[in-house]
């Protein structure tokens, strides 16, 4: 194995550049180094001006998502040695505007996330004195997979629908809506449905499935969206066939 590998990194200085360009850095190729370790090496030893986001280094915080060789990945879970002999192309997450170097503007996602009301909604909140809302292991299993989302936005970077139509609510937000819909303690499915059956909601999705393939937490947003479509369709048919039954 060579002892060096070349990192080809996107640079964009908003105050100086009209468009992004590439910059190459030679970094040590160590078996235990991730792409994020290499970027931190660049930042501390080679070029302090390089900007990128990171925090936990262990796939929990969801900050270090970037496109590595064109694939949206958590750079803390992507090993340099898998790309030997290199060079390794590191770009900002796709489908988001670039703010500086490898940092993208996530304003759009932050605005969309609360739209699907990803929290427990109750018709009537029970008082603290009545104790906690109990749940069986089966009830937990029903939504657990969708609760693993860390908001890393890799699914948005992988989704061509979101790239072409930025109004699309997007995979992670819909998966989170499903997470609360499937929660036995929640009663907010109706409110979320109103948001998600709009054109930019679930029906924007054409089931490319790339969100599920890139998800580092195996959340399966594509599955969540299709289940939502099925639910919405069943709801419409029921409302058409049995209008009175639904009112009662």
């Amino acid at each position: 194995m060579d002892d060096q590998i070349s990192l080809r990194v996107t640079r964009y200085r908003p105050d100086k550049d009209l468009e992004p360009s590439w910059q190459d850095y030679d970094v040590p190729l160590r078996e235990e180094w991730t792409v994020l370790d290499a970027l931190n090496h660049v930042k501390s030893d080679l070029d302090t001006t390089l900007a990128f986001r990171w925090s936990c280094r262990m796939g929990i915080c969801g900050s270090c998502g970037m496109n590595v060789e064109g694939e949206p990945r958590l750079t803390c879970a992507t090993f340099l040695s898998d790309y030997a002999p290199g060079p390794v192309r590191v770009e900002p997450l796709g489908n988001f505007p670039i703010a500086r170097d490898l940092v993208v503007d996530i304003e759009d996602f932050m605005e969309k996330l609360p739209r699907v009301k990803p929290w427990i909604i109750r018709d009537e909140e029970q008082s603290v004195d009545d104790g906690e809302y109990l749940q069986t292991p089966e009830e937990l299993d029903a939504y657990k997979q969708f609760s693993m989302c860390i908001n890393c936005m890799l699914c948005y970077a992988a989704c061509p629908v979101y790239g072409l139509d930025p109004d699309f609510v997007g995979p992670a937000a819909i998966a989170l809506a499903e997470r609360y819909d499937l929660d036995s303690r929640d009663q907010g499915a109706r409110e979320r449905l109103d948001v998600l059956i709009e054109h930019e909601g679930v029906y924007g999705c054409t089931f490319v499935g790339e969100c599920t393939r890139v998800c580092p937490k195996h959340v399966d947003p594509a599955g969540a969206i299709q289940r939502y479509k099925l639910k919405a369709a069943q709801q419409s048919i029921k409302a058409f066939l049995l209008p009175r039954a639904l009112q009662s």
Binding site: D15, G70, E210
Partner: protein
Amino acid sequence: MTRSEQAGDLLYRRPISVWWWTRKRTYFLFVMRELSSLFIAWLVLYLLLLIRAVGRGEAAYADFLDRASSPWLVALNLVAFAFVILHTVTWFSLTPQAMVVSLRGRRVPGAVIIGAQYAGLAVVSAFVYWLVTR
């Protein structure tokens, strides 16, 4: 000017190429799957034309068969058939993601759902074969 407006001016939005779907095998397969619906529509139309010809009597049917054997139509139908296979295989394999089937409180594995669809297809095909050849 507010801060966010200033920031907006400095953001770089990457253009998306018309050829984005050729960049990745999975994107390409997706676009082919979408395209396959056109060929499905064509084969439905073709079937309706066949039924109409049968309904109009022997001469019309013979005429239809004659036209169906033209090299262009054979080529088109071969391509259409290939797309129908792609359509069937890809949608069958996606079904377990969209449908959660539970039996006696247990989730039915995806492979069983996919297998059941192929079994259903085999039964329907066998029935049609029996209907045509009896």
